[in-house]
């Protein structure tokens, strides 16, 4: 069953036409990736699904219900979370407070358990729970951003370039965690520059070029597609 269904959306920034009629689906239990060059419209797509931007035309359905008239702050309680590009953690809040904000829409009685789960997954965060988030290293900030998104117990987790700016070993770790989350039942929509990694983990993938989807297929198919290899995998 398709969990997220994006149908022919057009998104504008003023008169810049950033997304030109794209459609795609994410099925329950899948890892789907969107890849594409800088400025292709990947972040715009995720931000639109998360409600931060509204499409001029087209439809977005999550678990059978349209999200078009749902304000951005009500989207997360529908069961999806976005871990945005550039982390966007609250730098002046402590690690623990950032996580509490992630659980903003959950009943307060659950918060402690949810935080404990995140600390189990990211022990580094536990050591630093009282530290102001702005003083964390880049990798720790990324973990915090992912942990914060997990606090809402999303059924669909969207991640926008979680590996950006991280050392290779941390990139491996992030992808490992994405795999684990997916095995535990979370559906994943992932945007990545690191096309090699993204395609090898994905069940299905879409290639975005200047606001249009040009290629789609299973991760395996795209890894062996000549055009994709040339453009995104370095030959």
């Amino acid at each position: 069953m398709s969990m997220l269904k994006v149908s022919d959306i057009n998104v504008y920034y003023g008169n810049i036409h950033a997304i030109k009629g794209i459609s795609f689906e994410v099925n329950e239990g899948e890892i789907v990736t969107l890849i594409g060059a800088n400025g292709a419209g990947k972040s715009t797509t995720l931000n639109t699904v998360a409600g931060l931007l509204k499409p001029a035309t087209g439809n977005i359905e999550f678990e059978g219900q349209s999200l078009l008239n749902v304000p951005a702050h009500k989207i997360v309680s529908r069961g999806m979370a976005l871990c945005p590009e550039g982390r966007r953690i609250f730098l002046q809040l402590t690690v623990q407070e950032n996580l509490e904000m992630g659980a903003y829409t959950r009943p307060s009685a659950e918060t402690a358990d949810l935080i404990a789960d995140v600390y189990d997954r990211f022990p580094r965060l536990k050591e630093r729970y009282r530290q102001v988030a702005g003083t964390l290293s880049g990798g720790e900030q990324q973990m915090l951003a992912m942990g914060r998104a997990l606090m809402s117990k999303p059924r669909l987790m969207m991640l926008d370039e979680p590996s950006m700016g991280l050392a290779p070993i941390l990139v491996e770790k992030i992808f490992e965690i994405i795999g684990e989350l997916n095995k535990a039942g979370t559906t994943i929509l992932l945007v990545e520059q690191n096309a090699q990694m993204a395609l090898s983990i994905a069940h299905r993938s879409y290639v975005l070029e200047t606001g249009r989807i040009t290629v789609s297929g299973t991760g395996e198919e795209l890894l062996h597609n000549d055009a994709v290899r040339k453009a995104y995998l370095g030959g």
Binding site: L82, F90, Q92, M101, G102, V132, G138, S152
Partner: protein, 289 residues
């Protein structure tokens, strides 16, 4: 000498309470609400009318004044500032100045330009320590300031709503992704700031009992100065800035010149900002990429 110090702290406490409103609104909405000073004046008139015309006792008058100003703050934000959420900061600033003139002129229409003699809302005997007398107004003002400061600090640091407020002040989009209603949070901030302005209005007019449509303007500007002085956006900064400003003003008046006291206050501000552009307690965490 001790007397001047206490007067300074007391005047400074009023500035601090006003500055808290400036700083909270700035922190969340990233705008200078220049009409904030005029909400003080409205608070003064409402409490004046409640006691003098309606014959209400002090506490209900003050509560009524807080209520009216809170609603006024929310309405001002909805009607004047919310439509400009995406506009340039200059457009918002000009609107805020417009709102300020609007309030002053509305007060002029309703209450005329004749000064009203404000009743002392804190009609208690002064407290004598040795041979210095501390007026009850001063004492109540200082206590109110401390209570407000502690309450606000606890609110923003310990409660879910307060933490959400800090989250919104840092990153509105990320806050929305958490499920925080940004518009409601901004309204709440204006409500708190305006309620505090009403308290400041009562205290200010009790200490300086001439009430006119322009009564809020100068304290408003000074409190804004205090907020910048302490580091705009910072709650303890507003408190520290307000109190220092009050002390400098009273000592300037006493020892240097009554006429020049405002000039002295603003000179100190300029000096501090030259040395520390973010204000005394202002902070700037550089973002890691």
């Amino acid at each position: 000498m001790l007397n001047y110090l206490i007067n300074g702290i007391s005047l400074g406490s009023v500035y601090a309470i006003i500055a808290l409103g400036y700083t909270m609104v700035y922190g969340i909405a990233k705008m200078l609400n220049f009409a904030h000073g005029d909400v003080i004046m409205v608070g003064g008139y409402i409490s004046f009318c409640a006691t003098s015309y309606l014959g209400l006792p002090v506490i209900p008058s003050v509560l009524l004044s807080i209520f009216v100003c809170t609603v006024l703050g929310i309405v001002i934000e909805r009607l004047a500032y919310k439509p400009l959420r995406a506009a340039t900061s200059l457009a918002v600033l000009i609107t805020a100045i417009g709102v300020s003139y609007f309030l002053q002129n509305a007060a002029l229409l309703i209450w005329s330009s004749n000064p009203k003699a404000y009743p002392n809302m804190v009609a208690l005997p002064p407290l004598a320590i040795g041979n210095t007398q501390i007026s009850a107004v001063s004492l109540v003002t200082i206590i109110a300031c401390i209570v407000i400061m502690v309450a606000l600090t606890l609110f923003t640091n310990k409660t879910k709503m307060g933490k959400a407020m800090r989250a919104v002040s840092e990153d509105k989009d990320a806050a929305q992704l958490m499920g925080i209603n940004v518009n409601a949070t901004i309204s709440l901030t204006f409500a708190i700031g305006s309620g505090l302005a009403a308290v400041a209005g009562v205290l200010l007019c009790s200490a300086y009992p001439t009430l006119m449509p322009t009564t809020g303007a100068m304290p408003g500007i000074k409190a804004f100065t205090a907020a910048v002085f302490g580091g705009i956006g910072s709650i303890p900064g507003a408190m520290l800035g307000g109190i220092l400003l009050g002390i400098i003003e009273i000592f300037g008046k006493a020892y240097i010149s009554t006429q020049l006291s405002d000039a002295i206050v603003f000179s100190v501000l300029i000096l501090i900002l030259l040395v520390k552009p973010t204000g005394l307690l202002g902070r700037k965490i550089s973002e890691k990429v």
